[in-house]
Amino acid sequence: MATTTLVRERVGYRSTLFEWLTTTDHKKIGVLYLTSSLIFFLLGGLQALAIRTQLAFPNQALLDHATYNDFFTIHGTTMIFLFAMPILSGLANFVVPLQIGAADMAFPRINALGFWMVPMGGLLIYATYLAGGAGIGWTGYVPLSDAGPGGVFGPGTGLGVDFWIMGLVFLGASSILGAINFLATIFKLRAPGLTMWRLPIFVWTVLVTQTLALFAIPVFTTALVLLFIDRNFTHGAFFNPAAGGNAILWQNMFWFFGHPEVYIMILPAMGVISEVVPVFSRKPLFGYKAFIGATIGIGLLAFGVWAHHMFATGAVYLPFFSFVTGLIGVPTGIKFFNWLATMWRGQISLKTPMLFAIAFLAMFLIGGLDGAVLAAVPFDYDVTDTYWVVAHLHYVLFGGTALGVFAGIYYWFPKMFGRYLDERLGQIHWLLMFIGVNLTFFPMHILGLEGMPRRIATYPATLDWPILNLLATIGAFVIAAGVAVFFVNLAISIRAGAPAPDDPWDAYTLEWATTSPPPPYNFDTLPPIRSERPLFDLKHGAASDGGALAVATVAAGAGGPGGEA
């Protein structure tokens, strides 16, 4: 079937464990990223379950308030910095060099360093629990997270906050190293013929994402460093108004990073969807260049909207930030047009990756509309810091990013391990997730409109808050059941899944032109690249000249289900 069958000579014995701990192979580092991220996904999920259990009924006292604050802080920090960002880096690590026909990343050892900084940063973040907790929210707003005159900390924010800061500086450095590596890889290591306008969409989204990371994360690092100095040496001089500091400065610096961060988490997921939707609709992506333009547009706008998180402070220029935030709807709308027009009259096959992609479209649409109305200042005033915001961000980041990540895992798992993830378990996983996400997060819209504030540990039995909260809690456990099914699927399929051929989905891009799993050096030969779908060209470019396929040596698709070769 495949021609990449070189057997490496064994040079001395190295244990599998040693191999994985010291690897600089982008594919293994990608799998390490995925593994680490999924472990932190479980930890963050457990904290979410604890939060939802506490909120299941009014006036409960399962968790004391300080623990509750620690849980929602570390839940948010974990899901953003230890799950969403690194798992997307993991997919990109595995896929980008393959999609551009490279043998590895530009700087393989920096790649390994960047990965190992993630679990290190995770340990620092979780050390907060041993150091008195950090009940400050993932936004770490001052003066709560700061020290005041005389070095006095806010309640529940002792030494743990310093660990939180150090962990985030670590994770930020890891992301910056990753950004440098991805950008250098994409700019310099593309295969002959792979011009920028032939790059797979996923690579384009990674390119824009990593540019955002390169310019946004250092500013967050500055803010964290200043906060650390403020807490330990200058007692609020930068950020605490009680000591002559400026609390809005923290918010400006945080959100100057924090808003691009949102796109750092969603753009690669959009890239995954843009790989999956065309393949499972049997059509090219509708409007390839428009999609790239929209992605670049979102990237540029990302740096001009941060203050929409700060409307209620009264310290920002509302018309500008409201207008620019509304503008973001344009490129996002273009993308929806791309995806839907791609599916329109396509031969849609509802394999698990496509199920998750379609769920992404529906969930991200709701999340996007939730956010679009928040751009209207009067509405934002009304629901600031209510559950409306919680509903919005979870529809975008769970319904969007997480479901997109699952689509990517089901899509590329056969390439990673040479086996399919089980289709039936995948469908159950998908169904539970789809029900769970909506059951958990949809009621939060109504809670927000009814004024329930976010980040409160208990609530009175007023209005219909009890039933809506109970529904959300039940939904959270449905999500947990779905995640459990996913892990069962992983455990079974990685050893005993149905063997997958090199090109199991009859796909278009270069990663499917090598074996599953690929050899350490990725490719023996590359097909000629004259479009953004080189593998499609190879398989279907000349129906009259079938013999040419054998010449090209990459018998991709032959034997794969649905292969037309």
Partner: protein, 210 residues
């Protein structure tokens, strides 16, 4: 077949048209900036954003005060001017080193790089003297915190450059670097110019703008 091969010409009727460079038989992305140097440029971009954050914090803090620097703070402008002269001239000597190795003259590069290293070290020594003799400290309110945070991070970057130059000198002494292969020298040079530029901005902001 082993390793990565050039694209196989299959004679397929391919969908997309070849670009002009491909018709000319050129590798579409061959040439251009060296990968290592590009990595350094990207790193510098992230560093620029880090310092941009510090400057933003500084100017924000400044808006709250009618007199700036706040009362009782005196800076050593003559010393800082000398340090500025040292660092700015070190950019020229660094460029001399780069020109030397581009011309393949390793000995001349080593001489220029050594001069640059000495100038950088002198800057650090001068900064240490400045820190020891200034009448205010890290914890003297927001000005002290901002002053020492900004100049301190810059000083750490100068130290990083001095260490990198020492490594380069060690490698050059071991016979490395030629006119064709000296990406590390180009990278260290770009970084050094950046550190120099940040100091010029710091000097202008802290000493001249007041």
């Amino acid at each position: 077949m082993t390793g990565r091969a050039e694209p196989v010409e299959t004679g397929l009727a391919l969908r997309g048209a070849a670009t002009a460079r491909e018709r000319a038989g050129a590798h579409p992305i061959a040439g251009g900036t060296d990968t290592t140097v590009l990595g350094v440029y990207l790193f510098i971009a992230s560093e620029a954003m880090f310092f941009a954050g510090l400057f933003a914090a500084y100017f924000t803090a400044r808006t709250k005060y009618s007199t700036w620097p706040p009362g009782g703070i005196h800076l050593d402008l003559p010393l800082a001017a000398v340090l500025t002269a040292l660092l700015v001239s070190s950019s020229f000597t660094m460029h001399g080193a780069v020109r030397a190795i581009r011309a393949g003259d390793r000995q001349r590069m080593i001489r220029w790089l050594t001069v640059t290293l000495v100038l950088g070290t002198l800057f650090l020594a001068g900064q240490a003297y400045d820190y020891a003799t200034l009448g205010f400290g890290f914890t003297s309110g927001v000005y002290g915190a901002a002053f020492f945070t900004m100049t301190g991070f810059h000083g750490a970057h100068v130290l990083g450059g001095v260490i990198a130059m020492s490594v380069m000198l060690g490698r050059a002494g071991a016979g490395q670097f030629t006119a064709k292969h000296h990406a590390a020298i180009e990278g260290v040079s770009a970084y050094w110019h950046f550190v120099d530029l940040i100091w010029v901005l710091l000097f202008s902001t802290l000493y001249l703008l007041r």
